[in-house]
Structures are given as C-alpha cells and as structure tokens.
C-alpha cells in the first residue's frame, strides 16, 4: 500500500536477498562475511577517485624529489646517489610503505577517502601490498595505466591486474556515521499493520528528515495518504515521525 519508497530505499533491503538481484549488479556495495558469521558492507571505489589519488601521490613524489634535488645539489656524486635511491624508493616502496603502515592508504588515497583492503575486509600486509604495487609495472602499460583501466572496467570490483593477483580491493574509507537521528516526538500508532519493509522505509524517512529540505519532506510525506490521513505539509511529516517513534518503541 505504501508506495513512496524511491529506488534507493528498496535497494538497501535488496542487498541481503539474492545474489542475482538486478540491483546488486549496479551497486558498489560488497558484503564480506567475517569469521564471526556476520556480513560487513564495503563500498568499492571506481577508476576516477583512484586516478585522482594517484595524481596527488604523483605530485607529492615529484615535489619530494625536486626538493631533494635542490638539497643534495652541493653533494656532487654522493648527492646523485641519494637522488637515485630516493627515486627508486618513491617509485616502488612509497605506496607499499603507506598501505601497510598507514591504515591502507597513501597520502593521495587518504585525501580521496580511499583505502586498500584484502578481499576479506582485513588490512593489507606486506606480501599483498607488494604484489599489487609491483604489478603496476604491467598495469601502467602501454601508457597511463591503460591496461589497469581496461581490467578495472572488466570486473565488478574495479580491480586492476595488481588487485586481481594480490586479492585486494580499493574501498571508500567509512566515515563515522551521524548519531541516530530520528527526532523525538510523541509516538503515534499507525492506522494499519505495516510490513517490515514499510516500517524500514518509514524509519529511513524519519532518520533523514532533518537532512532534507522541509518542502521536500512535506512532499514525500504527503504521498503516504493512508498513513497521514487528513494532515498535509508539516503536520503530515510530524505524523510520520510520530509513527517512526512508535515503531522504534519510544514511549
């Protein structure tokens, strides 16, 4: 009966149903089972934020190298040696070091809110990080990570060849979610029994009501005539929030 659920709302519930659900194909959410028998949700990152993260890292590495070049200019041959060693380390060891020692993210990935994880959601260690970063030599070919890009768009986890071999994922670092935010109001019993998905939709609506413009919340609330009754506008919103309060059991 309640028909105001946009596709985004239904999708959240769809994830836990079947593997061949059409929504899942287009979704970047990945469910990872842990040894505790539960599933945690990861969101894989696509080529664009990863390319930007790479560019930021490239910039940082370039600046470090230029600064070093100026600093060691006076040291002659020994300076040249330092420069070569630095160039080598920045090219091959920089990403490995940060991915293992700094919570899965090079500075560029950190800026873009990304991190590298093993496929099972655990942090990467030296072997996996080294595998994915040494294989950059292949992903880069023939120019500008063309091979890597082709691999990324050919599989559903956006893995370049290095990620495929190392069994790693690049995911969005989860931001700390806002604290539970269903506004407190006098609970109102719904006029009819609601199904679980309807209840969940109402809870989502109530939780987000503070983050959407009042006009839009009112518009959304008015769709659910059977629940709001004669109320319109702000009153309809308040009624739905009241029902949500009833559903989560506030007294």
């Amino acid at each position: 009966m309640v028909r105001f659920c946009s596709h985004r709302f239904t999708r959240v519930t769809a994830i836990s149903t079947t593997k061949h659900d059409p929504w899942i194909v287009l979704d970047t959410a990945r469910q990872v089972a842990t040894p505790e028998g539960i599933e945690i949700t990861l969101r894989v990152a696509g080529p664009v934020p990863r390319a930007l993260a790479y560019l930021i890292d490239l910039l940082i590495r370039g600046v470090v190298l230029i600064v070093l070049m100026i600093a060691v200019a006076a040291l002659g041959e020994f300076g040249k040696a330092l420069l070569l060693l630095a160039a080598f380390s920045l090219e091959w060891l920089y990403p490995v070091f940060f991915e293992v020692m700094a919570a899965g993210a090079t500075p560029g990935k950190r800026v873009m809110g990304l991190m590298v994880l093993n496929d099972d959601g655990t942090p990467v260690r030296w072997p996996a990080s080294l595998t994915r970063n040494l294989l950059r030599a292949l992903d880069f070919l023939p120019f500008l990570y063309f091979t890597g890009l082709c691999a990324m768009i050919a599989n559903r986890d956006f893995k370049r060849l290095g990620d495929l071999a190392a069994d790693t994922l690049v995911v969005y670092r989860e931001r700390k979610p806002a604290a539970a935010s269903i506004p407190v109001s006098a609970p109102v019993a719904p006029p009819a029994a609601l199904s679980l998905s309807e209840q969940r939709t109402l809870l989502e609506f109530a939780g987000r009501s503070a983050r959407i413009t009042p006009e839009r919340t009112a518009e959304l609330a008015e769709i659910v005539m059977p629940l709001t009754g004669q109320n319109t506008g702000e009153a309809a919103v308040q009624r739905l929030i009241g029902i949500a309060n009833h559903l989560i059991g506030r007294r």
Partner: protein, 328 residues
C-alpha cells in the same frame, strides 16, 4: 525487542567499544590493564564478538538504518584491529632467509629451469658464437653503445667496468635503481601469459651475451670478466628468479587447473612474491658488490675470479640445500 529498549540496554556498551577504538594503538598498549580505559585491551575480542552479535540482531530486526550503519562502521573498525598486522615479522623474515626462500625456489624448480634456459641459452650461445664472428654483435648492439662498453672496459682504466669519472656510491645507487627495475619488469609483465617475462629474459640474455662475447673477442676479456665475476652470481640468478616468478603468474592464467583463472592467479601470486622478496635482496647485494668490490683493480685477477666462483658455489649450495628440513 523494540529499538528504543535495545538502545537503552546496549548503547553504553557500544559507546564503550567506540571510545576504546578511538584511543588508538599507542594508548591501547599504555592502558592494557587499566580498567579506567573502559575496556581492557585483552577484553577486546570478546567485546568485538558481542558487537557483531548486536549488529546481526539490529539488522535482522530492521532497526533504523542510522543504528545499523553505526554498528557496521564499528564492526568494520574492530575487524581491522582484530585481524590487522600480527607481530613476529622479524622471526618470519629470518626463517625466510635461513631456508624458506630456497625451499620456495626449489618448489618452483621447473619454472626456474625454464627461466634459466631462456636467459642463459642466448647468453651462452652468443658468447661462444662471437668468438668466431665478432662482427655479428652489430645485429644486437648499436656501434655507439659498443664504443661506450669498450671505453668502460678499457684495460688502461684506473678502475674496472666504470669510467674514471664514475663514483662508487653513485654507481651503487644506479645499479639498484636500474637492476631492480629490470627485475620488477621481468616479473610483472609475466602476468601477460608469461610473454613479458620471456621477452625480458631473452632480451637481457642476448644483450649480455653479445657484449660479453664481443669484449672477450676483441681482447678486453680480462678487465670485463674480473669486473663481472664478483656480482655475476647474485645478479644473474636474481634475474632468472624474477623471470621464474613472472612465469608463475603467466602459467596460472594459461593452465589454471581445477580452479577459476582468478583463484589460480591469487594462489600463484603468493609464492611468486616470496621469490621476488629474495630476488630483490639478491639484486641489492649484487649492486653492493658491483659498486664497491667489482671495480677494484688492486686485487690480482685470479683473486677476483676466485671470489666470483666462490659466490656462485655459495649461492647454488644455498638453493640446493637450505631449508630442506623445514620443507620436509
């Protein structure tokens, strides 16, 4: 149970866990047995499992997404801490060097022999052929490069294998930068069904064989061989091992066996990267020898040959014998 009751009962516990996570690793060590920290570090696994259960309940009961997201976030963070890097890295590294590396290489001996054939085959072939037809070298190396090599190995130089203007430390750094890069390329391009590794092995074997053969044929043999003798074992075997590691990746794609190609690749990457650890270390040692020992002219030629042969024996013995007990 309604969500409000659930929150009233468990929110304190959830917040306690969150507060502990916020402390970070340094504080965890400090407050290990300090009850004031809210959660003792040793209690973390139990608290984490409890949190997992709370999240499963919250999801199953369709509590509000805010709460479920928050629990998911905390479980994810707890998961990273609990299954994060373990200690004992140093002991594992020592065990790897003491024999694990040799055992891994022996386990892949078919690929190692294939790789060695691809590299040493053209090398030895050209080396011997050029003794009769030195001009044949021009098919492989340009005259400009050849002149550079002749200059490097001129018997009149003060040092071997380097121009007089080159500095030891600089050359050491250059060898690392250049040789490890070649090793990585040889390894990584093996993922392309082995083709890249095969190319780099054949290519490097050919060039090295051509230059060695030519220099020997035109009478620069003594400075050349006494220069390369010292680091040849480490460097050449490291290149062969890089190639073998690359072929391992390629072989997994060509013949994945009773697995998907992806799963076969992941399985193959583990021993391959272990071989690469060792190969990188060998490149490092080779660069050190090549930078500081090989150019020395103050030692008589037989001593330099002797050291070179000793290192070959040492390296081959290591790969034949080390780690047998552990692997068995």
């Amino acid at each position: 149970m309604k969500q409000a009751t659930f929150e009233a009962r468990y929110l304190a516990e959830i917040e306690r866990f969150e507060k502990w996570l916020d402390l970070g690793p340094k504080q965890w060590r400090k407050t290990q047995n300090d009850p004031a920290a809210g959660l003792e570090t040793g209690d973390m696994p139990a608290a984490y499992r409890q949190l997992c259960q709370l999240m499963a309940l919250a999801r199953d009961r369709q509590y509000s997404p805010d709460l479920v997201d928050r629990l998911n976030h905390l479980v994810l963070r707890g998961h990273h801490v609990l299954y994060g890097p373990a200690g004992g890295q140093r002991a594992r590294l020592l065990a790897f060097l003491a024999g694990g590396f040799a055992a891994t290489v022996r386990a892949e001996r078919k690929l190692v022999f294939t790789s060695a054939l691809l590299f040493f085959g053209p090398l030895l072939l050209l080396l011997s052929a050029l003794q009769w037809y030195p001009d044949f070298v021009l098919h492989f190396v340009s005259p400009v490069q050849l002149a550079q090599y002749e200059e490097m190995y001129d018997p009149a130089n003060a040092r071997l294998g380097q121009r007089d203007s080159d500095d030891n430390v600089m050359m050491f750094a250059f060898y690392i930068w250049n040789n490890v890069k070649i090793g990585i390329q040889t390894f990584a391009t093996g993922l392309a069904f082995g083709l890249g590794s095969i190319f780099y092995l054949l290519f490097n074997g050919t060039v090295i064989g051509a230059i060695a053969g030519y220099l020997t044929a035109v009478g620069h043999g003594k400075p050349f061989w006494s220069f390369v003798a010292g680091h040849s074992a480490m460097e050449l075997i490291a290149i062969v091992l890089s190639g073998a590691a690359g072929l391992k990746l390629g072989a997994a794609l060509i013949a994945p066996g009773n697995q998907t190609r992806k799963a076969a690749l992941i399985d193959a990457a583990r021993p391959a990267i272990r071989i690469m650890y060792g190969a990188a270390l060998m490149f490092l040692i080779a660069a050190f020898i090549e930078g500081f020992w090989s150019p020395l002219k103050s030692f008589p030629v037989p001593v330099k040959y002797g050291v070179g042969i000793a290192l070959w024996v040492l390296v081959l013995t290591y790969f034949l014998l080390a780690g047998r007990k552990r692997a068995a």
